[in-house]
């Protein structure tokens, strides 16, 4: 990803962008993110005014609406603290997507400044803080879904390194792991047939490796896959990476 990105400060103060999805549905993933960061000695600030990263409108092509929301995020997360996001997708929006939609805007500089200090959580832990292994204990076979917006970023190797280093945990490989789960935001509802077919195929591959839990850095993909699996009468257990890390700490009495 961006080579000009800004490393964390010595005092480990960070800001948390919880994401609208965690704000609305997945409170525990956001909570686990805070607990994990604090375990690493970070002081977590939560700007109350935060809403969304602007991606829904960006992907929908409505860039005026998206820019309005991004400008709000720039204001909300002003300063020079790293911004940690428990989502590869929202992180990609702020590091890459915004640069595209602000290409010709006067405030491109401010938007990029936010992008340079935005980190996906696993990437931050490994490449920002230099933590390469994870303590505690987590019993289970993990199927790790490589969410698509992490392509080309440091997130996937980082998350895999952390997960596979936990005592008791193993990462189970599955077929076509580079393929999309079919979520794609509005794609999932304007192309429901294709989206569901993609997700069903993904679930078949995942089930074939008989994991105990399906893990991702993005709740959006997990929401799609868990929703599909449940509707089909074959529910699967899903956890955000932060929840696995947090549970490992708990199981090891480190929290």
């Amino acid at each position: 990803m961006a080579s000009d990105r800004q490393l964390p400060r010595a005092d480990r103060r960070v800001m948390l962008m919880a994401t609208c999805l965690c704000d609305a549905f997945y409170a525990d993933a956001a909570r686990a993110t805070v607990e994990v960061l604090e375990h690493l000695g970070c002081t977590v600030e939560f700007p109350e005014g935060q809403t969304c990263c602007g991606q829904p409108a960006f992907n929908g092509g409505d860039w005026d609406a998206s820019r309005q929301v991004v400008r709000h995020a720039v204001k909300t997360f002003a300063g020079d603290l790293p911004v940690i996001v428990p989502s590869g997708s929202c992180a990609a929006m702020l590091t890459h997507g915004t640069a595209l939609e602000f290409e010709k805007e006067a405030d491109l500089g401010e938007v990029r400044q936010l992008g340079r200090r935005t980190w996906e959580l696993a990437d931050f832990i490994v490449n920002g803080l230099g933590v390469k292994t994870w303590p505690g204990r987590y019993e289970g076979r993990i199927a790790f879904h490589r969410s698509c917006h992490c392509r080309g970023s440091e997130t996937v190797p980082a998350a895999l390194a952390l997960l596979s280093s936990i005592a008791g945990a193993s990462v189970a490989p599955f077929g076509e792991s580079d393929q999309c789960c079919g979520f794609g935001g509005t794609f999932s509802v304007s192309f429901p047939h294709i989206s569901s077919a993609m997700g069903t195929l993904k679930l078949e591959h995942i089930r074939a490796s008989a994991p105990d839990v399906l893990v991702s850095v993005d709740m959006s993909c997990l929401m799609h896959m868990a929703g599909l699996a449940e509707k089909a009468g074959q529910p699967i257990r899903t956890q955000h990476v932060a929840q696995v890390l947090r549970d490992a700490l708990r199981n090891g009495n480190l929290l």
């Binding site: 965690c22 805070v34 000695g41 977590v44 700007p47 109350e48 794609f187 304007s190």
Partner: protein
């Protein structure tokens, strides 16, 4: 909510067809990936380099095109310029008329599909026969290719055998070898009767004026060996600066397109037959086709002109794998087509404004593209263009986000909505649109609403004593 045409199309495809397209694309993709990584320490570096070279060409066409024209002319080639599809077809027809020619054999070229050449010539009493096996089958079926490299990926061998029987090419037999043998016997006669051989070109070297044509069936070579006149239809973006660039491009193309180290036939043609050569065309024409490529060059999506038509993005694309090529209503399907086809429509962009939306933006296409085209970025730009221009197909299914944007830039409103669960009433219209809620819940359940819970936990949890271990602090800037 309005379901997209492509999503509706997919329901009409039989399970058998879907399975075969899926398998065909998956196998090629996986072989390609293995081959690239077996042979090169860093294939991504090669893709980036190839992308930079083609981007350089695309941005310097104004100097390269006159240069290659001069070179071709000094090699004895007649150069023609066609700014539209119509002009390109007319140029071919004009050359044939001047020779009194009525029969043409054609190697596979996507530009000829793009300009509708076969129909144009047939209407004027000229036989224009496809000699690539796949394209030949498409032609006898009056069908359209559904893949840019494997035109009949959508056809089963049973269907092909039936077509052959219908065309009088022997009794029903669906053994692939028999089918190939029969086509070959039929085409052989046609090659020998033809006056003109028409090909495309995968690359043209500006340095030497060499045309490079790759095939796996040798039909292009046969077309040129048996005829007296060679016409090459070439998109203006097909140039590479130097002969030595070809090493990079040929290696990437064969691996990306068909998972081969090198295609079976790779021809380098620098002009008509020389006096000392016993066979070959005495006359050679290159028709450079624009057909809106300069408009694409001037657009915000010019990177798509780097494309070398390898089809790797189709093979990896999860949407293409489900819907196959005809769903795109275009000569160029799949990810490359979702960008290129609407652009090639020019002022009829709106007719295909839905294509850029037929993607989960997963980025697999960019990851495999041998010239590293940022296809997802281009899809996003075209979605934005569709919205800006109020193209109905672009707006269908993704309504204006003004209300959402207002909400998402007003913290007080956002928080109230979160706690009251009213966010459901704003989020849904946009990101899970309410009319689309059914589209979601038909196949998936929705998670439980927990709006505001995280914020409440953060506010209410006991503070830690040591201070260093992150007492949560909230601030409102």
């Amino acid at each position: 909510m309005a379901r997209q045409p492509i999503d509706q199309f997919v329901e009409g495809i039989s399970a058998e067809k879907r399975a075969s397209v899926y398998l065909g694309t998956k196998v090629t993709h996986e072989k390609r990936d293995k081959l690239l990584h077996d042979h090169y320490a860093d294939p991504d570096a090669l893709r980036r380099l190839a992308g930079e070279i083609k981007q350089h060409v695309v941005e310097n066409l104004d100097t390269y095109l006159p240069k290659v024209e001069a070179k071709l002319q000094s090699n004895g080639v007649k150069v023609h310029w066609a700014s539209t599809a119509e002009e390109a077809c007319a140029a071919v027809h004009g050359i044939m008329k001047a020779r009194g020619a009525t029969k043409l054999v054609k190697a596979k070229t996507m530009v000829s599909e793009e300009i509708g050449l076969a129909d144009y010539l047939e209407h004027r009493g000229i036989e224009a026969l496809e000699t690539d096996l796949g394209e030949f089958i498409v032609q006898i079926d009056h069908d359209h290719p559904s893949h840019i490299v494997r035109p009949i990926i959508h056809k089963s061998r049973k269907e092909i055998a039936t077509s052959f029987e219908r065309e009088g090419l022997g009794a029903y037999n669906d053994d692939p070898e028999t089918i190939t043998r029969r086509a070959r016997a039929f085409l052989r006669k046609k090659f020998l009767q033809a006056d003109v051989g028409l090909t495309g070109a995968n690359f043209v070297s500006v340095e030497s004026g060499r045309l490079v044509i790759v095939t796996n069936e040798g039909n292009s070579r046969f077309s040129l060996a048996a005829t007296k006149c060679h016409i090459a239809l070439v998109g203006i973006e097909k140039l590479v600066p130097r002969d030595r660039d070809l090493g990079l491009f040929l290696n990437l193309l064969a691996r990306s397109a068909t998972a081969q180290q090198l295609t079976v036939y790779t021809e380098f043609i620098s002009g008509p037959k020389a006096a000392a050569q016993p066979d070959g065309p005495e006359e050679m024409h290159v028709i450079f086709v624009d057909n809106r490529r300069t408009e694409v060059l001037a657009s915000e999506c010019r990177e798509i002109l780097r494309c070398i038509r390898c089809g790797a993005c189709l093979n990896v694309c999860p949407v293409y794998r489900q819907v196959s090529g005809h769903a795109y209503r275009s000569v160029y399907p799949g990810p490359v087509g979702a960008v290129l086809s609407p652009l090639l429509e020019g002022d009829k962009f709106a007719d295909k404004a839905d294509l850029p939306k037929a993607s989960s933006l997963c980025g697999a296409c960019n990851e495999v593209c041998p010239v590293n085209i940022p296809i997802p970025d281009l899809l996003l730009r075209l979605r934005n263009k569709g919205k800006r221009e109020h193209a109905p197909l672009a707006e269908a299914g993704s309504p204006p986000m003004g209300a959402w944007a207002l909400m998402a830039s007003s913290p007080a409103a956002w928080k109230t909505a979160l706690v009251a669960g009213k966010l459901m009433n704003v989020l849904p219209k946009t990101w899970i649109p309410i009319p689309a809620m059914k589209a979601w819940t038909d196949t998936r359940t929705l998670p439980e609403w927990r709006g505001g819970e995280f914020r409440k936990w953060l506010r209410q949890r006991p503070r830690k004593a040591d201070g260093t271990k992150g007492s949560p602090q909230s601030h409102t800037p």
